[in-house]
C-alpha cells in the first residue's frame, strides 16, 4: 500500500508541474512534427521523384522526347524543360536550382538516324563485299549530350544518374539501329510485311527490400522520426526525474523519508513506476501523432507493424532504462542546474551517436560502431525491427536485454553512490 500512496503522491506532484509536463509531452510532439517535416525530403530522395533536372532540348525530335519520357517514367526526377544557352544552363545548375542539367544539341536525332543507317548499310554490304556505296558524311564522335552536375552531388549519386542516362541513350541507339535495319531490309524485300522489332529489355531486374517475414515497408521519415524522438523524450525524462529527486533532497523531504522505516526505497520505487508510466503514455501519444496527425500534414502514416504488445514491451524497456538513468543523474548531481545541464547534454550525446538525429545507416562506419554503445540506439533498433522488418520477440530480445542491463547498472550505481556519499 505504501507503494500505491507513493505513486499517487508522485502523480499529483507531476501533474501540478506544468513546465515538467510541457517537457514531457509537448516537446516530443513538436520535435516529431518539425524534424519529420524537415527530413521528409531527404528520406523521399531515395525513393520518390524529387531530383530536380533541367533539360535543354534543341533537338525537338525523337531523342529528346524518348529521353524525357524515360526519365519521367523512372519517377526519380522532377523535370523542367527550358530554352537557354549552355552557359545559362551551367549557371542554373551551379546555383543549385537543379541537381543535373542535360543539353541535347540540335539535330541529335537526325544525326543518330543517319549514323545508324550508315552502320547498318556497312554491315549489310559487308555480306556482298560492297563497301563503295557507304560514305561517312558525319563524324559521329561529335554526337554527344552534355550533362551538368551540381558540384555538391556525391560521386556515387553522380555515377548512378550518369549510368541511368547512358542506359536510356543506349536504348535510343538500339531502337534507331533496329529501325535502320528494318528500312534496309524493306529495300531488299519490298513486298514483305515485317513485324515491328521489339526493343523492350529481354532481361529485367526485380528489386525489393530484403525485409523479414515478407514485410515490404520502405523506411521513411515518419518510420524513423516517431520512434527516434519518442525515445529521445523518454530519456529526457531524466531531467524532471532528477530534478524531483534533488528537490526532495534540498527541501529536506528526502531526510524525512530516510528517517521513516523502509520508506525511502518505496518512494524511489514509486517515482520510477510513475515515470515509467509517463514514458508509456508518451509512447502511446507519439504513436497517435504518427498515425493521425502526421498524415494531416501530407506525411506518410506511421506503420506500427503487427505486434503492438511487443512495441509496448520495447517502450517499457526503454522507459526502465530512461528512469534508471534519471535516478543516477539525480543521485550524482548536487544541484538542479547541474542535473539539467548534465542530463540534457548526456541525452543529446547519446541521441546523436544512437542515430536519433541522423539514422545510423547513413553514418560513417566508425560512427556505426560507436552507436552501439547508446541505449537509445538499442531502443531504436528494436523499434526498427518491429516497424520495418516484422521482427518478433526472439529477434529483438538482445536489445531488450541491453536496456534492462542498463537499467540495472544505473540502479546499482545510484545505490552505491548514495551509500558512498552517506558513508563519507
Amino acid at each position: 500500500m505504501k507503494l500505491f500512496y507513493s505513486i499517487i503522491k508522485e502523480y499529483k506532484v507531476l501533474t501540478r508541474d506544468r513546465a515538467g509536463l510541457a517537457i514531457t509531452f509537448l516537446m516530443p510532439t513538436v520535435l516529431i512534427l518539425i524534424i519529420t517535416l524537415i527530413q521528409d525530403t531527404t528520406f523521399r530522395s531515395v525513393s520518390e521523384a524529387s531530383v530536380p533536372l533541367l533539360i535543354i532540348d534543341r533537338d525537338n525530335d525523337s531523342v529528346g522526347k524518348y529521353l524525357e519520357k524515360s526519365l519521367t517514367s523512372s519517377k526519380f526526377f522532377a523535370i523542367t524543360k527550358k530554352s537557354m544557352t549552355n552557359e545559362q544552363a551551367k549557371n542554373e545548375v551551379a546555383h543549385g536550382s537543379y541537381l543535373i542539367g542535360i543539353v541535347i544539341p540540335e539535330k541529335t536525332s537526325e544525326n543518330l538516324r543517319t549514323k545508324s543507317t550508315q552502320r547498318i548499310s556497312k554491315l549489310l554490304n559487308s555480306f556482298t563485299n560492297d563497301s563503295v556505296n557507304v560514305i561517312e558524311t558525319i563524324d559521329t564522335n561529335k554526337l554527344e549530350l552534355l550533362l551538368y552536375f551540381d558540384p555538391i552531388t556525391k560521386l556515387s549519386f553522380k555515377t548512378t544518374i550518369g549510368n541511368s542516362i547512358s542506359s536510356i541513350i543506349s536504348q535510343i541507339e538500339l531502337q534507331s539501329m533496329a529501325l535502320s535495319l528494318k528500312e534496309k531490309m524493306q529495300e531488299t524485300f519490298p513486298y514483305a510485311t515485317p513485324q515491328k522489332l521489339e526493343t523492350t529489355a529481354l532481361v529485367s531486374t526485380k528489386e525489393e527490400y530484403a525485409s523479414y517475414n515478407n514485410s515490404t515497408i520502405i523506411p521513411n521519415s515518419v518510420q524513423h522520426n516517431v520512434p527516434a524522438w519518442t525515445l529521445f523524450a523518454m530519456f529526457f525524462i531524466c531531467i524532471p526525474l532528477a530534478g524531483n529527486i534533488i528537490k526532495e533532497r534540498e527541501d529536506g523531504s528526502a531526510f524525512r523519508l530516510l528517517t521513516m522505516p523502509g520508506s525511502y526505497l518505496v518512494v524511489i520505487l514509486g517515482k520510477m513506476l510513475t515515470y515509467i508510466t509517463v514514458s508509456l503514455i508518451q509512447f502511446g501519444l507519439m504513436l497517435c501523432v504518427g498515425l493521425y496527425v502526421l498524415p494531416l500534414l501530407g506525411l506518410p502514416q506511421l506503420n506500427v507493424g503487427n505486434n503492438i504488445l511487443l512495441l509496448f514491451l520495447v517502450a517499457f524497456s526503454a522507459g526502465l532504462a530512461a528512469t534508471g538513468f534519471g535516478l543516477l543523474v539525480g543521485t550524482v548531481s548536487t544541484s538542479h542546474d547541474q542535473a539539467s545541464l548534465f542530463g540534457a547534454v548526456f541525452v543529446i550525446i547519446l541521441a546523436a551517436i544512437g542515430g536519433i538525429w541522423v539514422p545510423t545507416f547513413v553514418m560513417p562506419e566508425v560512427m556505426k560502431q560507436i552507436s552501439i554503445i547508446s541505449p537509445l540506439n538499442w531502443g531504436l533498433d528494436a523499434f526498427y525491427g518491429i516497424f520495418l522488418r516484422n521482427f518478433g520477440f526472439k529477434e529483438i530480445y538482445p536489445n531488450l536485454i541491453r536496456l534492462w542491463l542498463f537499467f540495472l547498472a544505473t540502479l546499482t550505481a545510484s545505490y552505491y553512490y548514495q551509500k558512498f556519499v552517506r558513508m563519507r
Binding site: M1, K2, Y5, S6, I8, K9, K12, V13, R16, D17, E250, D251, G252, S253, F255, R256, L257, L258, T259, M260, P261, G262, S263, V266, V267, R422, M423, R424
Partner: protein, 249 residues
C-alpha cells in the same frame, strides 16, 4: 529517571576531514525530558542528529534508543522517532492535507485514524481552515506548524526538532512551543531540541548539552548549568563556554 537515549563514546569522522565531526561524546537523554542540544554552527549537531535518526553509521561508539540500536533494530528505532527538520520538508504543490496523508501513510497509519490525527493536529495548531490549500501558498509560520505536525503524526516516543522555530513570527513560535510542552507533559514524549534561540531553549529545555567542534563541552539540568557557571542565563553560559570566536568555515 530512566534513560531513553544512551550516547556512548560516539565518534564520527568523515572521509578526508581534518577533525571528527563528532568526537567521543557520551550523555544520556532521560525518558520524558526535553533535551536541548546547543552549539555554534559546525559544532556537530546535524551530524549527531543524522546518526540518531539512523542515516549515518558512527565511526565508533553507539547510540542506544530505548534499549535498541539502529544497527540491530533499524525499523523499530525509526518507528519510535519523529523528526522535524530545519527545512520545510513538504511538497509545495500538494495541499497540507495531501502532504500529511502521504507522510502518515508512509508510517503505515490506517486511513481513518490518520484522518482524525491530521484533523486534530490542524485544529490545535490553527490550520484546519487552510487544510486544503497548497503549501506554496502558506506563510513561513504556517509551514513551520505543518512541518511540526508531519513529525508528530505517528505519535513518536522521541521527537527530534532541528531549529523548529527559525524564521517564524512570535505567534507561530508560541503555538509550536506550547504544543511541544503539552506533548511532553501530557504524553511524556521525549524531545531532543536544537536551536540558536537560547532564551527559548532555557525556557523550554529541562536538560541542556553544549557541544563545540564535535566535543561535548558541558551538560546538565538547565538551572544547574546556569548556577554552576555563575551566570544569569543559558546565553551567558553558552558565550562563557564557547567564546566569541566566529565559526566561519
Amino acid at each position: 529517571m530512566e534513560a531513553f537515549v544512551e550516547v556512548k563514546h560516539l565518534l564520527k569522522k568523515h572521509k578526508n576531514a581534518t577533525r571528527p565531526a563528532v568526537n567521543d561524546i557520551s550523555f544520556l537523554i532521560d525518558k520524558g525530558s526535553v533535551f536541548g542540544l546547543l552549539g555554534p554552527n559546525g559544532a556537530g549537531k546535524t551530524t549527531f542528529i543524522s546518526m540518531l535518526c539512523g542515516l549515518f553509521c558512527p565511526t565508533d561508539g553507539s547510540i542506544i534508543i530505548n534499549g535498541k540500536t539502529h544497527h540491530t533494530h533499524n525499523k523499530e528505532c525509526k518507528q519510535i522517532i519523529g523528526v522535524v527538520p530545519q527545512e520545510i520538508a513538504l511538497y509545495p504543490k500538494l495541499t497540507v492535507w495531501e502532504n500529511l496523508m502521504f507522510i502518515g501513510r508512509m508510517y503505515g497509519i490506517k486511513s481513518a485514524d490518520l484522518k482524525k490525527r491530521i484533523a486534530d493536529n490542524l485544529e490545535i495548531l490553527g490550520l484546519n481552515e487552510a487544510a486544503h490549500q497548497k503549501i506554496i501558498s502558506y506563510s513561513g509560520g504556517m509551514k513551520r506548524r505543518v512541518n511540526l505536525i508531519a513529525g508528530l503524526l505517528h505519535n513518536p516516543q522521541l521527537l527530534i526538532l532541528d531549529e523548529p522555530t527559525v524564521g517564524v513570527d512570535v505567534q507561530s513560535k508560541q503555538a509550536i512551543i506550547d504544543r511541544l510542552k503539552k506533548l511532553n507533559l501530557d504524553f511524556g514524549m521525549t524531545i531532543l531540541y536544537t536551536s540558536h534561540h537560547l532564551d527559548e531553549a532555557e525556557d523550554f529545555c529541562s536538560h541542556i548539552a553544549i557541544i563545540d567542534e564535535g566535543k561535548l563541552i558541558t551538560q546538565g539540568k538547565t538551572e544547574q548549568l546556569i548556577s554552576d557557571n555563575h551566570c544569569k542565563s543559558i546565553e551567558e553560559v553558552y558565550l562563557k563556554i564557547t567564546g566569541n570566536k566566529f565559526r566561519d568555515k
